[in-house]
């Protein structure tokens, strides 16, 4: 696998899976304005995944869709951190959102310095959107930082950030749902 694909796939997988997990809040968030906001963030993450898959796909002679939906579960490189199903725990969800945005900022920042101009360019674009995600995560952090449930959630999740390796059972379940439609009509073009 090319160096570029090696670099981009874990990030793309993280964004896709986290986007998927965050979208589980659509329609059930604690209040409506936040439902709209959090769903929008989820959709942005999936958009970032799409763009990253596209860059990787060019090198691998495949397509973004095939990378997103046609791989076997063990081929995904997302972290266990983004795999966790946290609904209906809003404190944990915000803790993950906050911790993820912090670590993603460093990772995207490093990509922006890449010698590969396409990678650096895409990273800069993604970062401009992520700035608003960080703002959103920060304002929730400021609001919840004294809540014991939130502090506990941050402490519990912090060590899991960027922990990769074998997937969780939750991921296998998620993969099943995520790829169900494409698997249901094998070989179809949409």
């Amino acid at each position: 696998m090319s160096e570029r694909a090696q670099l981009l796939l874990p990030i793309a997988d993280d964004e896709l899976v986290l986007g998927w997990r965050n979208s589980e809040w659509t329609g059930i968030a604690p209040f409506l304005e936040e439902d709209v906001a959090f769903s929008s963030i989820a959709q942005n993450e999936i958009g970032h995944a799409r763009a990253l898959y596209q860059l990787a796909a060019e090198e691998l002679g495949t397509t973004a869709d095939e990378l997103a939906f046609d791989r076997k579960p063990e081929e995904y490189r997302c972290s266990k951190f983004v795999e966790l199903r946290l609904v209906p725990d809003w404190a944990k969800t915000i803790a993950r959102h906050y911790l993820y945005e912090q670590s993603d900022e460093r990772r995207i920042g490093a990509l922006m310095e890449s010698d590969d101009p396409e990678v650096a360019g895409l990273a800069a674009k993604i970062d401009r959107e992520e700035a608003y995600h960080r703002m959103h995560a920060q304002m929730w952090f400021d609001r919840l930082q004294d809540e014991p449930r939130f502090i506990e959630a941050v402490d519990e999740l912090r060590p899991l950030v960027d922990e990769r390796g074998e997937h969780s059972a939750e991921f296998t379940e998620l993969w099943g749902e995520m790829t169900m439609v494409r698997r249901s009509v094998a070989g179809a073009t949409w």
Binding site: E33, A37, M135
Partner: protein, 95 residues
């Protein structure tokens, strides 16, 4: 808490009421307003105002029917024609 949102479509244009957002504080209100009224290129600027800060006035008394206060209430054309006749001058367009 409800915040009223006003949006400006193009630089220099007047802000018009766009809608409202419900948010726990100003930071959240700004974020939600940007999300709902600004991120699709439909606005160049937003005003986000706590609803309590907006004073609504809807009583406009006009007990003596002073219609000359209103733009449509004081037809000047006829009065002008009479005045011109008395002065013996024609309207500018007739000269």
């Amino acid at each position: 808490m409800i915040y009223e949102v006003f949006r400006q479509e193009r630089k220099g244009q007047a802000f018009a009421h766009a809608g409202s957002v419900e948010a726990p504080d100003r930071a959240f209100a700004d974020w939600y307003a940007r999300e709902e009224f600004g991120r699709r290129g439909e606005s160049v600027a937003l005003w986000v105002v706590p609803r309590e800060a907006v004073h609504e006035i809807d009583d406009f008394i006009d007990e003596l029917e002073r219609n000359y206060h209103r733009v449509d209430g004081y037809p000047l054309k006829e009065k002008l024609r009479e005045a011109r006749e008395r002065a013996g001058t024609a309207a500018p367009a007739d000269r």
